[in-house]
């Protein structure tokens, strides 16, 4: 189910950029939590059920590790809990650690969604004309690691089928990994040269070259883009006026709940839940149509 990814690439790019930048650079707990929950919900819609356990097993320990690291190194704050080597370990540092963990996991969730939604053909469609070289390099770099993993698996299976390194000894495993890795290095260099030569042969980046793409800017794209712009505008206004300013050190500041700041929080909340709402709407429509048939 990928209703959101059917929107025009430009809209998707603007949307992801605005969410990521706001979530990364604003350390307000409300905004952080909205971004995290929105990211989790959208990610849950995009990924398969079978992946969920693995994801939880990675992100929950990561969350706690990031949260615990901060108070070990940052000793600012008015409420000391205990003293470690003569430096205080404070409640504020714990709170800030949790806030960092929320931001980090939230941004990781959104990046995961980004890579699922913004496929390299969309990226090339957006930037292929304007900055052909950079966009080709970027899209090659982005697909490099998954491709590397796939090819590595292939090579090691080929080695195994030849009867090499099939014993269970640890040293043997290291040897085989080394051998496969060496082969992979030269393969990846060769592959990137081949890709660029092939793109050149197709006249990529030349003047007058046309591309075929299925992306058209429908009215609904315009609606989503303007909704995003308005919501982002309200959020940025809140950040600039300082209504959403929040400090953890040395004393955790109180959340100011003026009518304007509530508006800002609501705007950002809607912005971060937008893809989830679109997915749910489409899912409901699908279900409703099936039941009618």
């Amino acid at each position: 189910m990928k209703a959101f990814s059917d929107y025009h690439p430009l809209v998707l790019l603007v949307y992801f950029l605005s969410i990521l930048i706001v979530a990364m650079f604003v350390n307000n707990p409300v905004i952080g939590i909205f971004a995290l929950i929105g990211g989790i919900l959208f990610c849950a819609m995009l990924s398969k059920r079978s992946e969920t356990a693995g994801n939880l097993g990675f992100y929950i320990p990561l969350f706690f590790m990031v949260a615990i690291t901060n108070p070990l190194f940052s000793h600012n704050g008015v409420t000391p809990l205990f003293f470690l080597n003569g430096n205080p370990v404070t409640a504020e540092a714990f709170a800030y650690g949790i806030a960092i963990a929320v931001t980090v996991t939230g941004v990781m969730m959104w990046c995961k969604c980004y890579s699922a939604v913004m496929t390299s053909d969309k990226f090339l469609y957006l930037f292929g004309k304007a900055i052909p070289k950079l966009s080709l390099v970027l899209s090659m770099a982005l697909r490099f690691i998954p491709m590397f993993k796939r090819q590595m698996h292939k090579v090691s299976r080929a080695q195994k089928s030849m009867g090499l390194y099939s014993s269970k000894s640890f040293i043997d495993k290291i040897k085989s990994t080394m051998r496969v890795f060496m082969a992979m290095l030269s393969w990846s260099l060769e592959n990137s040269i081949e890709t660029s030569a092939s793109m050149k042969a197709r006249g990529y980046g030349l003047k007058g070259r046309t591309n075929f793409s299925l992306f058209r800017f429908y009215p609904r794209d315009g609606i989503l883009l303007s909704v995003c712009a308005v919501l982002l505008g309200v959020t940025v206004a809140g950040i600039i006026t300082g209504d959403t300013a929040f400090y953890y050190y040395p004393r955790i500041s109180e959340l100011t709940l003026t009518p304007f700041s509530v508006t800002v929080y609501t705007a950002f909340g809607i912005l971060s839940f937008l893809p989830f709402m679109i997915e749910v709407k489409e899912a409901l429509k699908w279900k409703y149509c099936i039941s009618k048939i």
Partner: protein
């Protein structure tokens, strides 16, 4: 793959904790309730902690730190403390802030390349809290020693001043900054 990353992170964290040492004290144990009594034969030194330069540069100060700047700029008025044998400037400061329940954060001597303790913040006023050139400096008997506070061994009757600077020492009269590039300590 992902699990390996997590395991590596966890191991780094544990190593960091072990390397840092794990001397844990409760809040009551940390703050001193009693300090050496001054007797006629004991050696003593004086210590002052001040941040008046911030009052001239309030515009640069992070707005949430305003409540921690005393109105007269004096965090610890000139006080006399007993000098134990081999005490450095840092030992006296450490005892004084523990006795007066003033917050202080420092970087241990082993954690930097100068081999000396570095005072990062006193009373929630940290380095860089008031502009990019701000931080804590100390002077003994009116002179700024150009080295770390845990390397300066004190003598009887000396006068320590911990001063907050907003301009790498220029605003508190540290002349040596003009002819040699150095690290503030």
């Amino acid at each position: 793959m992902k699990k390996d990353l997590l395991a590596i992170l966890g191991i780094i964290l544990i190593i960091a904790v072990i390397l840092n040492g794990t001397e844990i004290q409760s809040v009551d144990e940390y703050y001193l309730t009693h300090i050496d009594d001054i007797t006629p034969e004991s050696k003593t030194v004086f210590i002052t902690i001040r941040c008046d330069t911030i009052l001239n540069n309030l515009g640069d100060l992070d707005s949430n730190l305003l409540e921690f700047v005393p109105l007269d700029g004096v965090i610890l008025p000139k006080t006399e403390y007993v000098l134990r044998n081999g005490d450095t400037v840092f030992d006296i400061l450490d005892r004084a802030v523990r006795y007066n329940k003033i917050q202080m954060e420092y970087q241990g001597a082993k954690q930097n390349s100068f081999g000396s303790v570095y005072i990062q913040g006193i009373n929630f006023l940290y380095e860089f809290s008031c502009g990019p050139l701000s931080g804590w400096m100390y002077r003994v008997d009116g002179e700024f020693p150009n080295y770390g506070c845990s390397k300066y061994e004190l003598k009887d009757g000396q006068n320590i001043e911990w001063i907050y600077t907003c301009d790498l020492g220029q605003d508190v009269g540290a002349e040596w900054m003009n002819n040699m590039g150095g690290e503030e300590k």
